[in-house]
């Protein structure tokens, strides 16, 4: 694993998201009401809606364009056939770290 520091958790709004640019395209980093942090591709499999602009509720996000709801743990869309790719993130001393290995290995593949 290759942990990359992408910022402080407080830079992400509670029940909100920020996006990061990566070689794979934009990745959305979500922060729930309980300070859990998740990361997933920022692009909705339906019609490319930017998920970082969606409403974050529980451990899910709702796409801003047509309201598909994704479970941030698994990336699976609820009651729709579709999923987003999730990435490992963890928070250490307030810093948000993302697993760059997965981003790299995917770009290599």
């Amino acid at each position: 694993m290759n942990w990359i520091d992408i910022g402080h958790i407080d830079d992400i709004p509670l029940r909100g998201a920020r996006k990061i640019k990566t070689p794979l395209g934009c990745v959305a980093v979500f922060r729930t009401a309980e300070d859990e942090v998740f990361a997933a591709t920022d692009s909705c499999p339906h019609k490319g809606g930017p998920l970082s602009e969606g409403i974050v509720h529980g451990q899910s996000v709702t796409c801003p364009l047509h309201n598909w709801v994704f479970d941030l743990n698994t990336g699976q869309a609820a009651s729709e056939d579709g999923a987003i790719t999730t990435f490992l993130v963890l928070v250490q001393d307030g810093r948000v770290l993302i697993d760059g290995a997965k981003l790299d290995s995917r770009s290599a593949a």
């Binding site: 709004p13 990061i20 364009l65 981003l103």
Partner: protein
Amino acid sequence: MKQKLVIIGAGMASGRVIEHLVEDAPDAFDITLFNAEPRGNYNRIMLSPVLSGEKTYADIVTHDDDWYAAHGVTCRFGEHVTAIDPEMKVVAGQNGHVPYDKLIIATGSAPFIIPVPGKDLDGVITYRDLDDTNAMIEASAKGGKAVVIGGGLLGLEAAAGLAERGMDVTVVHLMGHLMERQLDEAAGYLLRKDLERRGITVRTQASTKAIIGDGRVEAVLLEGDETLPADLVVMAVGIRPETRLATDAGLSVARGVEVNAQMQTSDPDIFAVGECLEFDGHLFGLVAPLYDQAKVLAGTLLDQAAAFVVKDTATKLKVTGCDLFSAGDFAEGEGREDIVLRDPARGIYKRLVIEGDRLIGAVMYGDTADGNWFFQLIKDGTEIDEIRETLIFGPAFQGGDTSDPLSAVAALPREAEICGCNGICKGTIVDAITNGATDLGAVKAQTKASASCGTCTGLVEQLLQVTLGDDFQMPTAQPICGCCDLTHEDVRRLIKSQELKSQDAVWQELGWKTRNGCHVCRPAVNFYLLADWPLEYRDDPQSRFVNERKHANIQKDGTFSVVPRMWGGITNPAELRAIADAADKYDVPTVKVTGGQRIDLLGVRGEDLPFIWADLNKAGLVSGHAYSKGLRTVKTCVGTDHCRFGTQDSTGLGIRLEQALWGSWTPHKVKLGVSGCPRNCAEATCKDIGIICVDSGYQVSVAGAAGMDVRETERLCDVETEQEAIDVTIAFVQLYRENAKYLDRAYKWVDKVGLDWVQGRIADPDERQRLIEAFELSQSIYRKDPWAEHATQAHRYQPLADLTLEAAE
């Protein structure tokens, strides 16, 4: 040749046996049916609604004379069977003998009478059949006091029914809490509170010593020598299987008539079904297992292999407003773990009992919507380890699918039992619906689901909705979404009455089933809170749809559009120049004149938003809120300034209205139009509020629209001065903010409350003043340009990090 089948007792169990027989083998038997009651089969469990007056006897008859005639059943109703002779294979009725080839004993049970002095007095009634029910109805007509002995299911249904009929009711219960066999103490306590709230007195740990009276009951004497005056005493302390005939005939009888898994008694040609029997040490007091027995017995009689197995049963109480559910084993014990959820404000209690990795018991009070789902987990012995943490929140929480209001039902497997009484599973109901049973009545007729006690009616309706979608109109009020059980109206009311001033208070006190709502309910709750508590609560951007959070309209490619305000549709060269410069500087692909008399810059990159806003701000341009559930535009015409027909300064009034109203959040968007004369060039009569200027003043009309519905406005009032026109408009907007359901346009709301009501409120000078002040209070916080504020936080609009650079390094 047809065999002679004699049945003793026309109750719920034997009724079901006959249905199976006439359906599967109409020519196999000649059936003679005895019944001690002078009537055929009715839905005994619905006697309580008959008692309370919700139903009549005619409503609960399951088989009428025509039905028996059509199926060739010889009825001997009102005739007791007095003896069975197994050797000669005849039964003796009061009016004569009948020989049989096969005999079914279905005599049910008899109410248990506690052997106290006075038990035989007039006015002491048990609760078992229609005659008892009618006797209670008759007694209650005179009013007075009733004492119900026994705080179990039957006693409480009797108590509630009598209270409903106006009697002053006391329940005397021997044990420490009500329904102790079905409920634990906590649930028993809540039940007691609910009953007390409806005026029923509950005495627990109270033992009856005697019933006092001279020929007729006058009082109940308790142990400890307290007397409770009584005009009516209902004894509902329990039942015991009606086994006398079987005992006399020499059949093997324990507490009930003993049968094997084929429902056969110790005599191979005599069978038993229903509450009168005992199987493997078990007695039965609810209909679900009896229906299973009936099915097995019909199979046995038709030489089909069938065997009865004992399943768990779930209990519900049929007293409106007392919502309880219990299933499985919920005694405390070694190695058992409890999960408890309490919501004191709403009187909700849920307790799950887990042993190892299985759910073995559930008790719920106040909110029993998930009861069936838990019951299914218990019956299936499902491993619950993975969902243990969220289990108590029910199916809606599992798998994160909280967006669909019907997800709980949708998530149930096809085998899940919906109608406990009749053992009908979801698959059967769904198949019936897809085969054309598109309303509750049809589903009931075809599947029997919800045809007995009726507590699953809600579930069946939800299945209709899940299966038929929009083709099915749910008869009852809809909860906001799957996160809660309350309607928008209830939530608004409770936020005000319980003074809930934060989202967390709403989630907790109103029993939200999810952590913090979903994209459907959270924006609504956010609006209700800010509309009702403008000082204590602040708008929460994270509970807003992206457009309102970012103050720009998201486009299909993820870029945004930027619409600055042009007050009343008026602009000037400096503003136009600033717009042109911004369009150049930020490579805006499309510049369009909107339908709302202003200019739209479409296709702006998210990162550029704070900068383009800062530039526009410099020229005095502010957000046009083209994205918000708030004031959009005030469309005007040129009015007296230039037009030869203009009667008043329509442009000026439009600008003043826009400046008064801008920035406010409303349930849905609000659009205004002000026309200088009835030619109506500003299209005022299809706006949420439209003002037509006339020589004598201003005609203010409301509740128009020209979107998905096209609606002409209706006249709210006529006023003489411009100030009054502004006052009335503001008062109307505030009334709408305080009362409408989130996402109801003004016309939908006015349709619901009625224009008369709105007119009355606005016409009342005190109320109008209050509304204006409340609006101004809120505007002291919200009447400002969100763009200016966001422009200072440009970093929030940039990516958090750019790893493409990192990779390049």
